[in-house]
Symmetry: D3
């Protein structure tokens, strides 16, 4: 089993997880397999590349960031000045590096921008674990702000504990609640920060619970920011396609439920964009509607080859 | 350690739990200790009874049902025709039996009444575990209705699993969700049934999460019934007193949280009565406001000696 | 076919319609058949009366006014001082007269009370046809108020045209809308007056469309009054029973729909009492919750024999 | 009377109706009259064309699709490379054909895109008759989805029956309701699809009832899509102008109303864009705000010569 | 000019103001004039008393407390055991004293009850000036609670400054806002306390601004208590009558407005009872609906002679 | 003290006030000081210009219009074809003139566009004083529309009286309310027009009270337009920065408050863009989201050098 297959296996088994990690490894897998393509003919090469792409896209239904990373490489490869296959491979390597650089840049910019909304004395609500949100909080702390975080444990996988642990290391005080106490936590908060899995023109996808908590945040006028790399935008929504919401195994919730008890375990859910104050991406702080325009302006290739 | 102290210890340590169980045992403890009162003088006897009452009331802050049960006995004892102490003890025993009969009767009536709102084809949402709600569902099933139950696991103590197990035994199909997925469960439901811990003139107390789920039920026009013995009414609210919401230990949620991570573990919360379609008690199906009037009409002693 | 059977037939075929008309004729049928009872024995007499009652109650599912009228007679008959059968028949006749007098009195009082809420310059919204509402408007006009009525046509049976015709005769100006334009009509109105078919402790029943229009009236803060004889209260709701909403034939909506097109024709629907400013009955202007208390206070027999 | 005048007459008398039909015939009339222009001088020719345009624009107040079709032709004609009048006429003919091709293309694309949001098991709510919505449903059916449609009869002209008939032919099951029962229909639906008459930067115009039903759809979180050719965008709203809402004759509602009864018969009404999930046009699925941007990007001429 | 006329004059000119003050003085005026009645005949005496009552009721449209005070005296006088006129006068004096004692008792009880809802660390929002609310705050302070008050200046007469001054003397810290900043003040508050002018079965009347602030308090789930003597209940609302909202002179707002500028100066406005958590009176903490029942139970004479 | 310092002093002391006035004078100050720069070297010149800019930006925290005016000049100056310092000064003078022309043009266009939304018979609500809004009303009047204005007095500085006076001169009838009566005024209005201080991608800033009144306008479906020069857009919000809301002195509200009474006097507050129907600028009538796109399209330099 080569690196390509090992990475794909690890993504499938959720050994590799988190949109950013999946994307980085997906690109790595793509690159290593593409560089091994045997043909010397231009058309054949792109045929092969298409097959690799298809294989990677298959493993996980909802990873627009990973898909956009690979689409970036192919789209630019096609429009790069005519070359032979060895030339293409060199360009491909360079493009893969650009993708990783983009992700680094985005992470940094988001932290810097979003941190401007966090001030000393504030309570920040968050749900689940998002490396982007933790980065923002780290940055805000580093800038000299003293604030507290209220977070949920996030059943079934307790990702809220990962968040709490990371913040503990950053010496940011945390108050930790069960998910059903989120209303109480949100009501006392000054701002809510969520990560994000996918954004389409009509929907924002994030961890299960996000829509209910967004309803509550709106009820109490707590501004809710969804924070993530703009490449999480999925252009297929424009054409009417909807994200498939992954349903995971019941055993994550209850090992041996009695007979007649079925367990429903949706991983994430759609947030109505009307409940979201703004999307914070490396492009800036924009309403969900303006975010769509920014994406088109900054990355026109994203909407093209869909 | 006699029976009195053993019961009080068990209530304190939550070995004995559930409003009904606590009340039954509280009455038992009260009766056994009262029967042992040594004095032969009328006034002395009531002084002693008052002391026993005070001890029992102390163990748990929010048990209006238990308190009302004991208040029923004392209130009637005082107004019973003049007697000597042995006569009083006989009456006291009889009154304690009446209390238990009341609770039996109430449980039966609630099941019968509430079951009229459950029809074949329905989905019933419930949260946490309430023996009253399980009784209703048992009765509705026995009456020939085929319905399903959507319930939450109810962190931190997973009382939702108790509900699921009991329904499984009754062969009522259950779909089980994590708490944060409650919105999805409620939206698909036709009716929501909650148990209840305490009712005052302005507030209804139930398991943490109840207010958030009540907000959601209202959003989707899912009728929400709060079901319980009318003696859960706490008259002290009339005089402005508020229930103390018990906060339990952090270890129920997370055994060894990292330093700097505090855990907030409120057991229950207040539901705004405006979000509740009706209280279903042995007195009938009444809006929270009419419920207060019914209580005063049916049990005038409840509001008296407060 | 005697008078009893003729009336029952006419009620069944909707030749006799409108809660008040149905009640008057139900009482008439009850009286004429009860007076013909042959037995001279007290118990037998009441058995027979019970059978007549049952027959009348069967014809229409949702006529609490008619049911309460007959229950009033029987309840009082039973508690009237011991008499022989001829004496009972005399009392029964007297009680039937009292029922009709009650209905007359109620109609008059409601008009007088509700008219105090209508002032010169106002726009009054109404839906469907209610003789009670037309009476209120007649009274308000007679008292010297100049106002206009906005009303709906009320498909499928165009009862809104009956309202418009009656108001035209009273020289009250009307603006008439299709049902789907009700939002526009309500928004411009100062007050909304609805008739009512049945009231329970948790629900108010009226013509289809009433809940949607009540939602709209609330949105625009237009006070919504439900007007009717307090005997339209159905005590069975206390015990959990719900009104059966009559579904009428599809031909009322579309004579010959193409195949595959089903027609849903519910006659009335439930209004959430939270959307109703007050019930105006002969007992006064009361919130739905206070109305329930007034009914119990003024007519204790209504909740008894259920 | 030549073809030009006959068509204009038919549009005025509503013999020709539906935004698409009116546009097709308007272009036809425009073309036939323009080709008959006698002058050989360039400026004179455009003067004449302007007069023809003005005549056509006059007949109906709210037909942005028709207006945009003709504006497309003139705008392109003016910017086409300098030619003599015969050359202009040839170009004009070609441009008219392009317009019809655009409309065909749009209809096809909308069906394809919107159908992605319809899945087996769904209930689809619609109001009035929209050929675009029927096309979407036909396409979704053809793609193998089994769903049901809930629709309103749409008084006063019963266009809901046209919808029901067309769906019946397509063997799509329909449940048909009176307009006032729409709340009940919407509540049970998974998605709502409306056609559209005009879109401006702040308002969406559709059949009377649409705003009330949109309020209800939002209340129950039923996603509401407005579906139509993007050329229904009316750029004059940018400059503050508002659509004139046609008020049609009272006889459509009630032939001989009694004196004093006025009938209000507005044909359509404004929907608040905040209540609309997305506009589905040939450009894709976009929030109303993003739709405006797409229009500007795809058809810059639309906003220009206003 | 005797005392009677002087007091009436002072009430009319608002020299005497505040519901409690007006009531105390109204009773004083009533008593002094009634004791001077010349006749020795029973019927004549009551005729005279009726005339005095009418004169006092005329001076101010919306003073239910004053009206109820006098109605209490007359109602009890009529039902007191048959006596001659001197005996009646003695009883009348006694009854007047009872009225004042009631008001004292009510004020004390309200303070005691409502203070239970104020805890250390809270922010209490209030609007305008209410001696009842200031009393509550004084009591809560005295009981050892440390809290802050956010209040409005209450244009046009700056009664908010009176509140601020009185609280300043009590050493309760105050933050003072212009009326338009009330949203910001309410949002940060834990509880809102309003006085009250009149309560009917469907409406609660208080200072202009109260409904808007109640809307805001509800938006943010800040519990809103209306605090006042239960005798502020106006039973005439039961019969459909509405309070007349006093409109005061424009010069209170702007001395010399330019021509064409009219000034609207309504003194108070109606609060929708649905926005009020509870009425706190000497009878306890009750929802507006339960308050109505309590009034009927505690003071049956209030609803009688209306 | 030269002109530069005098103007800056007057802006600081609020002698010069109103976004437009501040901008005009800021540009004037900038120009006069820049023309006096001594250096002949290109780089030095821009260094000096930068220093002047910094000084002007300092005086007031929230004047995006003034800042954008000066940024327009500098940005264009930098990209103008290479020249020596005297040439630069000439260009600078020309650019300053362009800025003033832009402001004139914007004011005229806004009046013309917004006036299309005002029709005879309407009631227009406004708060505070905005020269832009008064201009709109003047234009609408001139165009032959007869309408009325409902406005607030706007404590603490009574800018509502300025509005009333100016409208009085224009012979537009005004009804004037205290701020707390705004709900009543808004409910009767057909449209609400606000000026604006600053617009960012997520927030709109205007006079204190604006958000509360926007909440009320939305409750009653009264369309709310925010009117102002598009250069009031502050691009820094894109990068997460928030406007500093100026808090002015307590003496504006209460000269000598008693001790312990603090006065909170925020000048303006944020309006949630979701509550705003549209921004009306010289660019047209656009939703807040589309406004952001228009700004970027029309004035790309605004977002650049931030």
């Amino acid at each position: 089993m080569d690196q390509f297959e090992r990475i794909l296996g690890d993504i499938k088994s959720v050994k590799i997880q988190g949109a950013e990690n999946v994307a980085i490894n997906g690109v790595k897998a793509f690159r290593c397999r593409a560089l091994k393509i045997k043909t010397g003919r231009y058309e054949k090469f792109f045929e092969e590349v298409g097959r690799i792409k298809a294989k990677i896209f298959e493993i996980r239904p909802t990873e627009p960031l990973m898909r956009n990373c690979i689409r970036y490489v192919i789209s630019n490869l096609k429009s790069s000045p005519g070359a032979d296959v060895p030339g293409l491979k060199k360009t491909l390597s360079k493009l893969c590096k650009e993708v990783l650089e983009h992700m680094d840049y985005a992470e940094g910019m988001i932290a810097k921008i979003a941190a401007h909304r966090i001030h000393t004395g504030m309570i920040v609500f968050t749900h689940c674990h998002s490396s982007t949100v933790v980065n923002i909080l780290r940055y805000a702390k580093k800038e000299g702000n003293w604030f507290r975080v209220y977070n949920t444990e996030t059943r079934p996988l307790y990702q809220g504990r990962i968040t709490a642990r990371e913040l503990s290391k950053l010496r940011i005080p945390v108050v930790h609640f069960v998910d059903s106490a989120a209303r109480i936590a949100i009501r006392k908060s000054d701002i809510a920060l969520f990560g994000v899995d996918a954004i389409t023109t009509t929907k924002i996808y994030n961890k299960i619970g996000s829509e209910m908590f967004a309803v509550i945040a709106n009820k109490y006028d707590v501004p809710l920011y969804v924070c993530g790399d703009s490449w999480k935008f999925d252009p297929e929504g424009i054409y009417g396609f909807e994200e498939t919401v992954e349903k995971r195994g019941p055993e994550e919730i209850w090992k041996n439920p009695p007979r007649g008890v079925n367990i429903e375990n949706p991983t994430f859910e759609r947030i109505n964009p009307d409940l979201v104050t703004a999307v914070i991406s490396e492009l800036g702080v924009y309403s969900p509607e303006n975010f769509v325009e920014e994406i088109k302006r900054a990355y026109p290739w994203i909407c093209k080859s869909c």
